[in-house]
C-alpha cells in the first residue's frame, strides 16, 4: 500500500505566491488566514488524511461498497469509523461560512483540504463532496424552515447529501427528466420516478441522507425550464429534529464499475410503495435549473480537484518506485551495474510531466477557487463582477482540463511502474481507474468544452476573455533574466489561444455553431495548458524573489518546473490551433451510415 503525504509546502506556496491569497486577506472576513493558520490547518489535515483516510483506499477498492439485497448498502470495513472521526474532527465544516456553522475558511483554502481527502481516498471523498453541494443549495435557496431543519447536520456532515438528477434517458440532457412531483394536501409534495447513477445515494455512514431531487410538477413546461428542486430525506425529520418515518426512497441496486468502488453508485426509486416519496419544494416551481447553476461552479471545481488530487497520489507512488527500481544502464554507466530507473531520461520525462502538470493544475484550481471567494466578498462591485466572470471562464477549464490530465498523468504513473503497474497488487492502477470518472460526471468534458466555447467566449461581449489574456500577457512581460524564455513560450501560447478565441467569437456571430463545437475540446486544452503555464510562470517569478519560510531547494524546484513546462508543454499549445480552426466539415465527411 502506498503512502500519501500531503504536499503542504506546495499548497501553501501556490495559495500565497501563485494564486493570490493576499487579495483575499485584505477582506476583514479572511484577515485571519495567515501563514501560521495555513501551516497549522494543513499540517493536521494532512496528517489526518495520511493516517486515517489513506489506508482505506485499497480496502475500498478491493472490497467496495456492497448492496445487501434488502435496499441497504454496506460500506467497506473501516469506513464508518473513519467517517465518524472525520466528522468529529470538524474537517467537513471548515470551508463553510461561520454564519451557517462552518469554520469560515475561504474556498481557496478549503480546496486544499479537499485535495488531501480526495488524494487519500477518492471514493470516500465523494460522500462529503456531495454533501457540500446540498449545503450550497439549501443555504442559497432553501426557506428559513428548511435551513433550520437540515443545514446544521449537513454542514457538519453528520448527515450526508446527494444530487439526484440523472435518469436513464436524461444524462447530459437533464431537461429530458421525467420524475414527477405532485402537490399533497399539506403543502408537501409526492415524488415518483427512477433515478440512476446517484453517488452515495444509500449507505451506512450517516443516520440520515438528504436527497436533492430534480423533478417535474404538473403542467411544467418541457425541457430545462420545467424542472423543480425538492428535498427528499431518507428519514423524515420531526419538528423537534428527531428522525421520523422512513421515506419511500429505495436503493434498487448499485453499479459495478471501473473505479471508486467504495462510492456506491445507486439506482434510486422514489414512490415504489404507494403514492410517492415525501418531498419539500425548494424555492419556486420550475426554477430548479437556475438554482443548480448557482452551485455548479463549486461542484465542477471539486471534480477538477479530483484530477489534481489523484494525480498527486499517483505521482508520489511513481516517484518513490522510480527511485528504488533498478533496471538498465545509464549512458556512460558501469557495465553490469543497474541504475535506478529515475536516471533514464524517458522516466524522468514522465515524472517531470506529472510534477509540472500537477503544479500547473494546483495553480489554476486555486485561482479559480479564490475567484469564487472574491466574487462573493469583494467590496467593489466592478471587481466582484470581474472575478465572477473569471470564475465562469476558469470553471469549465478546471473541471475538464484537470480531469483529463488526471487520467493522463495517472496513466503515466502506471507506465513508470512497467509491468508491475498493470498488476493490481501494486496499487498504481487504482489511481487511473478512480480518476477516469471525473471526465464524465458533473457534465462530461465535451459539455464543458462546449460551455467554454459557446458561452464563455462571448461573456461580456468578449471582454472577460480579453481581460484574462491581458493578465497572462502582463505577467509574462514582467518576467526577466533567466525567466525570459518562459515568458516567450507563455506569450506565444497565449497569443495562439487568443487567436482561436477571436475566431470562435467571430464564428459565433456568423452562426457557425458547428464549426465552434467541432473545435471546442482542443480549445479547452489550449486554454488549460496556457493558464497552467501562466500559474507556473507566476510561481517561478515568486520563487526568484526568495520569499521567507521556504527551503531554497523548493524554490529552485519551482523555477525548474516552470522552465520544463515552458519547454515541453507550452509549445504543444500552438500545435492545437489547426485542429481548433479546422471546422466541422471534415468531421462529417464520412456519412453516418458508414459507421454502422
Amino acid at each position: 500500500m502506498s503512502e500519501y503525504r500531503a504536499p503542504i509546502t506546495d499548497m501553501r506556496f501556490t495559495l500565497e505566491h501563485v494564486a493570490g491569497l493576499e487579495t483575499l486577506r485584505t477582506l476583514p472576513r479572511f484577515a485571519h488566514v495567515d501563514g501560521d493558520l495555513l501551516t497549522g490547518v494543513f499540517d493536521e489535515a494532512g496528517r489526518f488524511a495520511s493516517e486515517v483516510i489513506a489506508p482505506l483506499a485499497q480496502v475500498g477498492d478491493t472490497i467496495g461498497s456492497v448492496h445487501n439485497g434488502d435496499g441497504t448498502v454496506a460500506t467497506p470495513p473501516g469506513y464508518k469509523e473513519a467517517y465518524q472521526r472525520f466528522v468529529e474532527a470538524g474537517w467537513p465544516a471548515a470551508g463553510f461560512p461561520e454564519e451557517i456553522g462552518g469554520g469560515g475558511l475561504p474556498w481557496g483554502v478549503a480546496s486544499a483540504l479537499q485535495e488531501m481527502i480526495i488524494a487519500a481516498d477518492m471514493g470516500f471523498s465523494l460522500c462529503p463532496m456531495l454533501t457540500y453541494g446540498t449545503v450550497d443549495m439549501l443555504s442559497l435557496h432553501g426557506s428559513e424552515e428548511q435551513k433550520a431543519t437540515y443545514l446544521g447536520k449537513l454542514v457538519t456532515s453528520e448527515w450526508s447529501g446527494t444530487m439526484v438528477l440523472t435518469e436513464a434517458q436524461a444524462g447530459s440532457d437533464v431537461g429530458a427528466l421525467t420524475t414527477k412531483a405532485v402537490p399533497a394536501d399539506d403543502g408537501t409534495w409526492r415524488l415518483t420516478g427512477t433515478k440512476i447513477f446517484i453517488t452515495w445515494g444509500e449507505h451506512d455512514l450517516t443516520e440520515n441522507i438528504i436527497h436533492i431531487v430534480l423533478a417535474r410538477t404538473p403542467g411544467a413546461p418541457p425541457g430545462t425550464k420545467g424542472i423543480s428542486c425538492f428535498i427528499v430525506p431518507k428519514y423524515l425529520v420531526n419538528p423537534d429534529g428527531s428522525l421520523g418515518a422512513r421515506n419511500d426512497v429505495t436503493c434498487l441496486s448499485i453499479e459495478h464499475k471501473l473505479g471508486i468502488h467504495s462510492s456506491p453508485t445507486c439506482v434510486l426509486s422514489f414512490g415504489d410503495a404507494g403514492e410517492g416519496a415525501v418531498g419539500y419544494l425548494i424555492g419556486e416551481e420550475n426554477e430548479g435549473m437556475r438554482y443548480m447553476f448557482t452551485m455548479m461552479n463549486e461542484a465542477r471545481l471539486s471534480v477538477g480537484n479530483e484530477g489534481l488530487a489523484v494525480s498527486e497520489r499517483a505521482f508520489q507512488q511513481a516517484a518513490s518506485y522510480a527511485l528504488e527500481r533498478k533496471q538498465g544502464r545509464t549512458v556512460g554507466g558501469e557495465r553490469g551495474e543497474q541504475a535506478p530507473i529515475i536516471r533514464h531520461p524517458d522516466v524522468r520525462r514522465m515524472l517531470m510531466l506529472m510534477r509540472a502538470n500537477i503544479a500547473a493544475m494546483r495553480g489554476v484550481l486555486y485561482r479559480n477557487a479564490l475567484a469564487i471567494d472574491l466574487s462573493r466578498h469583494l467590496e467593489d462591485e466592478e471587481r466582484r463582477t470581474q472575478e465572477e466572470d473569471l470564475a465562469a471562464i476558469l470553471t469549465p477549464i478546471s473541471k475538464a482540463w484537470a480531469s483529463d490530465l488526471g487520467t493522463e498523468l495517472t496513466s503515466l504513473g502506471i507506465q513508470i511502474h512497467g509491468g508491475s503497474g498493470y498488476v493490481e497488487e501494486t496499487g498504481a492502477a487504482q489511481w487511473w481507474r478512480d480518476s477516469r470518472i471525473a471526465a464524465i460526471y458533473e457534465g462530461t468534458n465535451g459539455i464543458q468544452a462546449q460551455d467554454l466555447a459557446m458561452r464563455r467566449i462571448p461573456l461580456g461581449g468578449g471582454v472577460a476573455m480579453h481581460r484574462l489574456f491581458e493578465m497572462v500577457l502582463g505577467d509574462a512581460a514582467s518576467l526577466e533574466g533567466d525567466l525570459k524564455p518562459i515568458a516567450d513560450r507563455l506569450t506565444e501560447a497565449t497569443e495562439a489561444s487568443a487567436a482561436v478565441a477571436m475566431t470562435f467569437g467571430q464564428w459565433l456571430l456568423e452562426g457557425r455553431y458547428n464549426d465552434v463545437l467541432a473545435g471546442a475540446t482542443p480549445f479547452l486544452k489550449m486554454m488549460g495548458d496556457t493558464l497552467g503555464g501562466w500559474m507556473l510562470a507566476r510561481g517561478a517569478r515568486a520563487a526568484t524573489a526568495e520569499p521567507a519560510g521556504y527551503d531554497p531547494a523548493f524554490l529552485a524546484d519551482r523555477i525548474a518546473l516552470a522552465a520544463f513546462y515552458a519547454e515541453h508543454v507550452l509549445p504543444t499549445v500552438i500545435g492545437l490551433k489547426g485542429s481548433c480552426l479546422a471546422g466541422a466539415e471534415g468531421m462529417f465527411a464520412i456519412e453516418e451510415s458508414r459507421f454502422g
Binding site: R5, G40, V41, D43, E44, R47, E88, A89, W91
Partner: protein, 258 residues
C-alpha cells in the same frame, strides 16, 4: 487536577537532520514539529483532566521558533504552555534539561507530571526519572495504562515479560509508552483556538537558574565525535523448501521476541 505534560519540538522527522559541524548539535529550524511520541502523554493528560475537571499545561525546553509544534499540542486540547527558550540553554544535556523543566514545573504547582519515555531526536530516555528525582516525586515509568482512582494513581507498567500494576499517591510523575492510548486528532476548532492560547516563554533568569549551570559548559558532558550510522547491510534470504518457518522461528528466538 492540574497536569503538566513535558513535550518537545523537534525538526520534522521526514526531512534529514542537519548537525552543526562544529558543535555536533542538531540544527533546529524555526519550524519544528511536535514529537509524535509526546502525543500519547498529552492524550493521557487530557483524559485525566476531563475526568477530574482539571487543566493541562505543556512544559517544554528548546528554541521556541514559530511555536508550530507547541501549537500542535495545544490544538489537541491542552490549555496553556510554558516554553523555556533561552540561547544559554543550547547544548544542555539530559540532567540540565531535567533541572530546567523541573524549575518550570514547580512554578505551575501541578498534581501530576506526565512525560513520554524518550524523545525522537535525542533518545536519552532519562529525563523523566531525573525530573521526578529533582522534584522528589514518585516516578511511575513506562506506563501503558493510567487511571485515577480515589485520589490515587493506578498504573500498568510495561515490563519485558508483561506488566506490573503499581499505585501511587499524588503528586507523582508518570512516563507513558508510545501506544499507551490512541492520541486524538486535533479538531479544526481546536487548531483555530490553539492560536489564542497563552504561551509563556520564560528565560533561565526568570526561573532563577544560574547561567553557568546550563548549556554546553554546564552540562558536564561533551560530544567528542559523531559518525554516520552504518549503512544497512543486505538481509539474509531463506529459500523455502517447506521448512523455512523453522529458520524464522530460530531468528525470532534469537531476537528474544518469542
Amino acid at each position: 487536577m492540574k497536569i503538566a505534560v513535558c513535550v518537545k519540538q523537534i525538526p520534522d522527522p521526514a526531512t534529514p537532520y542537519q548537525l552543526d559541524p562544529e558543535t555536533h548539535l542538531v540544527m533546529r529550524p524555526a519550524e519544528q514539529v511536535l514529537d509524535d511520541t509526546d502525543r500519547y502523554g498529552i492524550e493521557v493528560a487530557l483524559q485525566l483532566a476531563a475526568a477530574t475537571d482539571g487543566t493541562v499545561v505543556l512544559v517544554s525546553m528548546g528554541p521556541a521558533g514559530n511555536l508550530q509544534g507547541i501549537r500542535q499540542a495545544l490544538a489537541m486540547g491542552a490549555d496553556q504552555a510554558v516554553v523555556v527558550s533561552d540561547p544559554l540553554l543550547q547544548g544542555s544535556g539530559a540532567l540540565v534539561t531535567a533541572r530546567v523543566l523541573a524549575a518550570a514545573i514547580v512554578r505551575e504547582a501541578v498534581d501530576l507530571v506526565i512525560a513520554g519515555t524518550e524523545s525522537t531526536d535525542g533518545y536519552t530516555g532519562i529525563v523523566p526519572q531525573q525530573i521526578a528525582e529533582i522534584l522528589g516525586l514518585p516516578a511511575l515509568t513506562f506506563a501503558r495504562k493510567v487511571e485515577h482512582i480515589d485520589g490515587k494513581l493506578r498504573v500498568e507498567r510495561q515490563t519485558a515479560s508483561g506488566y506490573d500494576v503499581v499505585t501511587s499517591p499524588l503528586p507523582a510523575l508518570v512516563s507513558v509508552t508510545s501506544g499507551a492510548v490512541e492520541p486524538r486528532y486535533p479538531t479544526f476548532k481546536g487548531i483555530m483556538q490553539a492560536k489564542q492560547k497563552p504561551v509563556d516563554q520564560p528565560t533561565c533568569a526568570d526561573l532563577g537558574i544560574d547561567p553557568g549551570s546550563v548549556g554546553l559548559g554546564g552540562s558536564g558532558q561533551s560530544i567528542t565525535a559523531v559518525r554516520p550510522a552504518p549503512a544497512r547491510t543486505a538481509g539474509t534470504k531463506i529459500h523455502d523448501e517447506g521448512e523455512a518457518y523453522l529458520e524464522i522461528v530460530k531468528l525470532l528466538e534469537q531476537a528474544k521476541v518469542i
